[in-house]
Symmetry: C2
Subunit: 350 residues, 2 copies
């Protein structure tokens, strides 16, 4: 496979700005109505259920609803219900399922059980009239349209956009809501980094494992970039919160294991700087996705993000660097990123 | 370093049965009183806060309190409070901190904030009169006594024992409570596997990454064995829930990356069997810790657990295999498991 062959995944990465514009234009009003209902019903807890890429969107929502809406957010293991038949007390709770295909069997099962108990249920999905529509009381639809490549890209960032808008409307924070409108243009700025990402990717032709590090709002970005590297490029990903990483896993870091830090400006930046110092002392191969000069300077390979983004929208922008990185490492490895060995677009687990 | 040199870590692994007996004898009554209070106060949610090994104990508690007590359990990122100053609604909630040293700064900070809001707070710790005693209203003390080796072993399994007893007493389930008393003898049976673990460890002399897989009650075991391999043996661990793993990361598995499955009898076994089949198709190097004959047979390297354990106590027994594995891989690599490069016993994060 030649490096100049084009793949659906790359096209879909580049469709993200328009998909986000379409999602906000088409679904904005329904999101606002649902946010009003969350206020009216005085929802105090959100229970998230999701798998794979959608579970990384759920990780974003944990910080978002916690910080912006002050509600307790639980990312529940579906197995609590589907394997162990736990009977949870779900008063004042929204159960929110996320599934791009709308067919994740365990997510649907949890939604159905919760709804049968009289709990408020909703879904975020990219597939109109999919089975999740019957399971949840309300479905919010992302407008990523059909995603053909197996690694999810535009269905992930549009799900993040829906969650962001929902949190902002729920908190009636119009400044926050407006910030999301700048994401498409910021993503387009990231596309300009592609030649540089392609060049640097060759260095990782023989990479077999990679540590991904983020904190707070961008913990999801670390997990999602790791997942893309695993799916497209046969790199075993080890994603950690920067804080947890300092409590043990850092001991396993040698110069041969690259560490990718996702560290845009914001409240989590202090921890990320501290971590970068510790990794530098260990002579780690450090890659950074950042807009903080000292983090760009300390890295072996640095990808510079646009400046001036609020931290809460940065996960939608930073992940694009990682999507392109996973794509180009796959190409250098001679792999087909659109059809990773042994994966299907829809995975069913009970 | 010769393989016959003895280390504190190995002694501490072998002290676990007595530490659990001591913990239950000394703390049983206080646990029962606290469980009565949880019932009296009609606690409906548990918010767990912990780091490192203690965070793996928290993962155990997520399943335990969910399945046994029917409460919603959230493993909260301390950064929600310490970095983002989120103001969460914590009515009907127990905030439970876990810290063997009793000095984890972010755990203490979250406990103090919750207590100042009038929320019920408690701690599980191995260090009497440590700062966590002042932060939480009540501290439950494990009797692992001083742990000298940096990788935590006995402070982990005694914390699991306290959490198990608390869940059983809270549910007033005397059969469940009694099951825990069999753990010390079951651990002693696992010690008999040590010559076999030592032999097999040589195979992993040049191992640099390892995938750890569990589900449900033993998801914590996958994470904890991964952490030990990282701390002692410079192996980059990638731990996943078996269900999440099928949604993407499995694509990165080649024959060169060993996959360790923790799969004792119980409700999660079906998923683990399914996963083993998928890994076998990919010619993965599979290791299993199990008491299910078909999982012992399919593996390249199999460690046989005692049979007849209820699933809810199996994490205390299965982890011992992994502690010994991490220890012996470290010895084969010529590393000192007691003092991993660049780690301290107590890590402070804000």
């Amino acid at each position: 496979m030649k490096a100049d062959t084009t793949h659906i995944m790359r096209d879909e990465i580049r469709e993200q700005p328009q998909a986000i514009r379409d999602t906000l234009a088409a679904e904005g009003e329904r999101i606002a109505q649902f946010a009003a209902r969350l206020r009216a019903e005085q929802i105090r807890h959100v229970l998230l259920v999701a798998r794979g890429t959608s579970d990384n969107a759920a990780t974003y929502a944990r910080y978002l609803f916690g910080v912006v809406n002050g509600v307790l957010v639980t990312s529940v293991a579906a197995s609590l219900f589907t394997v162990y038949d736990a009977e949870l007390d779900l008063g004042d709770t929204l159960v929110l399922g996320i599934s791009q295909s709308g067919t994740a069997t365990d997510v649907i099962d949890v939604l159905k059980r919760a709804r049968a108990m009289g709990t408020l249920t909703a879904a975020v999905t990219n597939t109109e009239d999919s089975p999740i529509y019957e399971a949840a009381e309300l479905a919010l639809l992302t407008r990523a349209y059909k995603e053909h490549s197996i690694p999810a890209t535009k269905s992930y960032t549009t799900a993040l956009a829906v969650l962001h808008r929902l949190a902002a409307q729920w908190a009636q924070d119009s400044e926050m809501a407006a910030a999301l409108n700048s994401v498409p243009a910021l993503m387009e700025q990231v596309f300009e980094l592609e030649p540089q990402i392609e060049d640097h990717s060759e260095r990782y032709r023989f990479l077999d494992t990679c540590v991904l590090l983020g904190r707070g709002f961008n913990l999801c970005t670390a997990h999602e970039i790791g997942l893309k590297l695993g799916e497209c490029a046969q790199v075993v990903p080890a994603a950690h919160s920067a804080a947890d990483f300092m409590h043990g896993p850092i001991a396993s870091i040698q110069a041969e294991v690259p560490c990718l830090l996702i560290a845009p400006e914001g409240k989590a930046l202090g921890s990320m700087l501290e971590l970068a110092m510790a990794l530098d002392e260990r002579n780690a191969e450090m890659l950074t996705i950042s807009n903080e000069p000292s983090l760009l300077e300390i890295a072996k390979v640095a990808f510079e993000l646009p400046t001036g983004m609020p931290e809460h929208i940065s996960p939608l922008v930073a992940v694009v660097v990682g999507q392109l990185l996973a794509y180009h490492v796959a190409i250098h490895k001679g792999l087909d990123p659109d059809r990773p060995a042994g994966l299907q677009k829809v995975t069913r687990t009970m």
